[in-house]
């Protein structure tokens, strides 16, 4: 992977391979597909938040005009889920429903209108259970259980990890701050609603075309629920019209469509409504946090104790990982010698939360960065300079055993300070104006797969044609981020050909090697490395054949501009196609493979699997706000952001991801929230999303966007292809705390909660005028028994990555019981 040649594509803003198709409307998304004899499916969803299904009668629906098939829970009794430890979902609920929107029956008809009309004819008799609406309900041991597995009562998962000696750290501190903060839930809001078409293939096989970020995991879930051999099921992920984590789980509608198609012997299509997308959810977990940090006079941290409480909604989803992620990445930006993390996730009767962009890390990052701002204020330090002084060093191991490689946060902070004229302007702002800074870091792919195994996380296969064309096969999924373009460019760069010579075949479980999916910002790094390896292997074969053909044994053969030639005498060479022909003549059909497996992480304690990554990206963000004290309305005129992407494989794509993150971050900071209506308990048990539509769920439009000033910082990482790290998620994280910190700078009020609505600022200002502290945020953190902590000595203490007391604590609950797990497939 030596980066010696001049790059032709990598590092340039080459045009995306899917650009023309997308801007001309020719890209086919899942809902654009149509097949002969296709029928349409709709799901009957629960109108109740929590109830037993006493009986279900579909006879009238079966007789309704146009109806060709009806399914209920007994037709698809096998549970599934994205994590092996929480296979707690069903394609159709067999015995109880857990939120408004949980599906109980599927109807297929000749038209979508007929299917919709027939849903009203399904008769369900319910027995209502307690509505678990929020933390208070979930912590109330007298209320009904949502699930029969979990840590205790309505707790899904509890985690407690202690690294080093936090109490000793707090004793060394000159200042100890303790804050309670809240990060509300929000949803992904992809423009494309989920859609699936299942096509039976005549011999008992089925192909499922879907808007999914994770065809590999959908394939596994289908295999399990349908009870078919895996090779009989083909999953094809189409280009997603946005995902952001909302299409990372296998979904009930995908499985129900496949079952219906197999039953009927004809293609079945389902396209969700926007409201159903809100019900699929898997969005940001509402998270209550208690954060206690010790600081020295220079602002450096001595210890931190973080407690989180996640509102998980009705199912497991990625929740166990999400819970760990609310603690895992607190250590990778600034040196933190002692750290305790307690996390817990509760069930509630709401759509399940899961992995939204940033997956579990924006919430504690908000708490950390706002608290750092408070510490800087209390200690009389510049908040930017204070951060610069305590950066986690590159090539180091954190207290919780994460290996940091390249680390460009310093240059990021300096870039945004320069761009915003931080030092010149910060102490000379007009009334109501403020500048706030925050930083963050994110994974370039999770170090461990979801289903534990030793196999590669990404595979790429090349087929070289004698015409000079190169077909590239990879299971990766384009969700708008540009992964198709990066895949093509990595191969084209190594082989010295143009993007026009590349033919992609992606995200097809029948045809492409496994790539785990477009989640955890893993694709560029993992797929990129696999692609580079496959292309280098092809280059080696071609170079050998070309050297023979040119009678230049031992020459330095170069691949560039569609030619293969001698570096010493570029005139002596041949076209790329001729080189393929030379190789094919000698060795037969030319094909190579490449794959990527992340390095082993140093942590050996239970839970050490969440947090490690081959490389961490870094971001710094400065937000300017203009706050109206008469109303509390916050405007954001400008955002400066610098992101350490290791190496920008395509600077325009990188900037696009950064700007998209700012858009989403401004939404999370100022308006987006998964708000629910609990009707008065005396009158109703109802619990519904307050506004499951794109008009009233407030998200910024293009016209509401601030000016964004983007700096790309390049600190190449040895683990990344050409040095590249992630950019899809990291730049979102610092936006929300930077907005809160800027509001404090503008008006002296603290927003310990997001989204920051104008009435919150207004209320805090009123409180301040009356002589109060001027803060809006949660009042208290409830008493949660997190249990005994795993005690893990840090690297500085001479630890070996293992917990001291693992045997005393043993395996905790929070996962499905052994009997439940026996029905699951072997991991792979």
């Amino acid at each position: 992977m030596a980066d010696t040649n001049k790059r032709k594509l990598i590092g340039t803003s080459f045009r995306r391979v899917d650009a023309v198709g997308k801007v001309s409307g020719r890209t086919q998304f899942a809902d654009d597909l149509s097949f002969p004899r296709m029928v349409f499916m709709k799901l009957l969803r629960s109108p109740l938040p929590h109830a037993q299904i006493v009986s279900i009668d579909t006879s009238a629906a079966e007789r309704a005009p146009g109806v060709v098939g009806v399914l209920t829970g007994s037709d698809v009794p096998v549970p599934f889920g994205i994590l092996p430890v929480s296979h707690d979902e069903h394609a159709l609920c067999p015995d109880k429903v857990r939120f408004v929107g949980d599906p109980v029956a599927a109807v297929a008809a000749l038209t979508e209108e007929q299917a919709q009309a027939a849903l009203a004819l399904v008769r369900v008799e319910w027995k209502q259970l307690d509505t678990i609406a929020d933390y208070d309900d979930a912590l109330d041991a007298s209320k009904d259980l949502i699930h029969t597995y979990g840590d205790d009562h309505n707790f899904h998962k509890k985690v407690s990890l202690r690294f080093g000696d936090p109490e000793a750290g707090f004793k060394q501190a000159d200042l100890v701050l303790e804050d309670t903060m809240f990060f509300d839930g929000n949803t992904h809001l992809p423009l494309e609603q989920h859609a699936t078409i299942a096509v039976p293939e005549g011999d008992g096989r089925v192909a499922v075309w879907s808007s999914t970020q994770t065809p590999h995991y959908l394939h596994k879930a289908l295999t399990k629920v349908l009870g078919l051999p895996a090779p009989w099921i083909r999953v094809i992920a189409l280009t997603n019209g946005g995902g952001f984590g909302g299409k990372s789980d296998p979904f009930n509608h995908e499985i129900a469509a496949a079952k219906m198609a197999l039953n009927l012997g004809r293609p079945v299509k389902i396209t969700l409504t926007r409201e159903e997308v809100f019900q699929c959810h898997r969005g940001r977990h509402p998270t209550l946090m208690s954060i206690r940090t010790g600081f020295r006079k220079d602002g450096s941290m001595t210890a931190q104790h973080l407690k989180t409480l996640l509102d998980g909604g009705a199912y497991g989803s990625y929740g166990v990982a999400s819970t760990y992620y609310t603690g895992a990445l607190q250590t990778v930006t600034y040196n933190l010698p002692h750290y305790q993390f307690d996390g817990a996730r509760v069930w509630t009767n709401k759509p399940p939360c899961g992995p939204k962009r940033g997956h579990g890390t924006p919430q504690p990052r908000f708490a950390l960065e706002v608290q750092l701002d408070k510490a800087a204020h209390a200690l009389g330090l510049d908040p930017a300079a204070m951060r610069l002084k305590q950066l986690q060093p590159k090539d180091s191991i954190t207290a919780n055993w994460l290996r940091v490689g390249s680390m460009g946060l310093g240059p990021c902070i300096e870039a945004v300070m320069r761009g915003s004229k931080w030092l010149e302007r910060r102490n000379a702002m007009p009334p109501g104006r403020g500048l706030g800074i925050a930083c963050s870091s994110y994974l370039s792919g999770a170090g461990l797969p979801i289903n534990w195994n030793h196999m590669p996380h990404s595979g790429v296969q090349l087929k070289l044609d004698r015409s000079g064309g190169v077909a590239v096969f990879c299971g990766q999924t384009e969700i708008g981020q540009g992964s198709d373009s990066i895949l093509a460019a990595c191969v084209a760069e190594i082989l010295g050909i143009s993007l026009q010579e590349i033919r992609l075949c992606v995200a097809d479980t029948d045809l492409t090697p496994v790539d785990l999916g477009s989640y955890s910002s893993r694709v560029t790094l993992m797929m990129g490395n696999a692609a580079v390896q496959a292309a280098e292997r092809a280059r080696e074969i071609l170079a050998r054949a070309a050297a023979e053909e040119l009678k230049l044994p031992g020459a330095n053969i170069v691949f560039a501009d569609g030619r293969v030639f001698d570096a010493a005498d570029p005139a002596r060479g041949m076209s790329f196609a001729a080189a393929v022909q030379a190789a094919e003549s000698r060795y037969g059909t030319i094909g190579t493979t490449g794959s990527y497996t992340p390095p082993r992480a140093p942590g050996r304690y239970r839970g050490a699997g969440v947090g490690p990554s081959p490389a961490y990206s870094y971001s710094a963000c400065i937000v300017e706000v203009d706050v109206d004290p008469a109303t509390g309305i916050v405007r954001v005129p400008d955002v400066w952001i610098a992101h350490d992407v290791g190496r920008a494989l395509n600077p325009t794509l990188v900037a696009g991801q950064v700007e998209g993150s700012i858009y989403m971050g401004i939404g999370e900071a100022l308006m987006e929230e998964s708000a629910f209506r609990r009707l008065p308990e005396k009158l109703s048990s109802a619990l519904v999303h307050k506004f499951p539509n794109m008009l009233e769920y407030k998200s910024p439009t293009f016209l509401d966007m601030p000016r964004v000033h983007t700096s790309i910082i390049e600190e190449p990482d040895a683990n990344g292809p050409f040095g590249a790290k992630e950019v899809g998620q990291g730049p979102l994280l610092p936006v929300m705390p930077a907005v809160s910190n800027a509001i404090f700078h503008a008006l002296g009020v603290r927003m310990d909660q997001v989204p920051i609505h104008p009435w919150m600022v207004f209320k805090a200002l009123e409180e301040k005028r009356r002589g109060g502290v001027g803060r809006y945020g949660p009042k208290a953190f409830p008493a949660v028994d997190y249990g005994a902590s795993l005690d893990v000595p840090t690297p500085a203490e001479g630890g070996d990555g293992k917990a001291r007391n693992a045997d005393d604590i043993g395996v905790r609950g929070g996962t499905m019981s052994e009997t439940q797990r026996q029905s699951q497939e072997k991991p792979c």
């Binding site: 409504t273 405007r635 539509n693 009233e696 700096s711 790309i712 609505h757």
Partner: protein, 344 residues
């Protein structure tokens, strides 16, 4: 996806035909004046019609006419109004109110008549059929309770028209035509403060045009409160029209609040606080405070009801400061942020 129910469609060629078609079945027929609100509502099954009568082909319901007393055809699109030079000159406050409606795309289709007759809105009502089933319906649609105020005998869905408070304030009138004849009424009489029966016109009447009064020395403005300056419905609208005497004393004041009840509400105490007074820091503040009690802001829109009530005073004061040439104290959220820029 959400799909429209079946209905029949007739394109009326003139006002007479529209009236005749409407008179055939006034309860089950609806006028299609743009459809940017009606059609989504029909998809969600909370507005119903067996027949829609399209008005786009009715030539004499379109266009902006007259000089001192201008007339705006009910089928004039909102974007036509925002581009009209004479309206910009005479009634810039009206143009601003219309400019603030929804988004550019919807303004090219939506009409002024449609905006005035806009269905009242509520977070318990503007929802899908499934959502409304999950709460057991509400009294505006298939239920018997108002979830905004469960002990209330009435529906509190809000009037969300941006043009209405401004047109009420300037004393505009509307022409209503039916097979029974025609009449001209003040815009404020077009509305009833009831979320379910929110229009004071009969089911068989067609709103054909809006009649604007002579400007004389009236100054009028519209202040709108909403989350996003790019698209949202109002959660509070202030239409204010003033005339001043030789010494700057207010001789005429009409102030109407939108989106805080089921009809635009007049704020007589605010008007009284201004009459005979010059617009000073003290008088505009007093007039703003006097409006606070008028607003019936409830928990059925974006934002909290307490804050919306508090903002009523700020917004009324803001509108009056603008009319009085006093420096602004509050900023409207739609103040442009500037074009997005990128530097790599």
């Amino acid at each position: 996806m959400l799909r429209l129910p079946e209905f029949s469609f007739v394109a009326a060629r003139d006002i007479g035909e529209a009236c005749a078609l409407l008179a055939e079945a006034p309860k089950s027929t609806r006028l299609l004046a743009g459809g940017t609100d009606l059609l989504p509502n029909m998809k969600r099954r909370h507005q119903h019609a067996q027949r829609l009568v399209g008005l786009r082909a009715v030539a004499n319901m379109r266009g902006i006419h007259g000089d001192s007393e201008m007339r705006v055809g009910a089928m004039t699109t909102l974007s036509t109004i925002t581009r009209d030079a004479k309206l910009q000159r005479h009634w810039p406050g009206f143009v601003r109110a219309v400019q603030s409606i929804s988004s550019p795309v919807l303004r090219t289709t939506g009409t002024i008549g449609g905006n005035l007759c806009l269905d009242t809105r509520c977070n318990y009502y503007n929802q899908s059929e499934e959502w409304r089933q999950a709460i057991g319906g509400c009294m505006k649609e298939a239920g018997d309770i108002c979830w905004v105020a469960p002990s209330s005998p009435r529906c509190w869905a809000i009037s969300a028209s941006d043009s209405a408070p401004l047109l009420c304030a300037i004393g505009a009138r509307v022409r209503l035509v039916s097979v029974r004849g025609e009449r001209v009424i003040p815009v404020e009489q077009l509305f009833v403060d009831d979320g379910i029966v929110w229009l004071g016109k009969s089911d068989d009447e067609v709103l054909t045009e809006v009649l604007l009064p002579p400007v004389e020395n009236t100054k009028a403005t519209y202040w709108k409160l909403r989350r996003r300056g790019s698209i949202d419905f109002p959660v509070l609208g202030v239409g204010a029209a003033l005339r001043m005497g030789a010494h700057g004393e207010v001789t005429h004041a009409r102030i109407f609040l939108g989106a805080v009840s089921s009809a635009p509400l007049r704020a007589p105490e605010s008007e009284a606080a201004l009459l005979g007074q010059q617009l000073t820091e003290a008088t505009v503040k007093a007039a703003g405070e006097a409006a606070r009690g008028v607003a019936h802001a409830l928990d059925n829109t974006d934002f909290t009801m307490l804050w919306r009530r508090q903002m009523t005073a700020v917004w009324v004061e803001g509108a009056l400061r603008e009319l009085g040439g006093l420096p602004p104290r509050a900023q409207m959220p739609e103040t442009p942020l500037g074009a997005p820029a990128m530097s790599v």
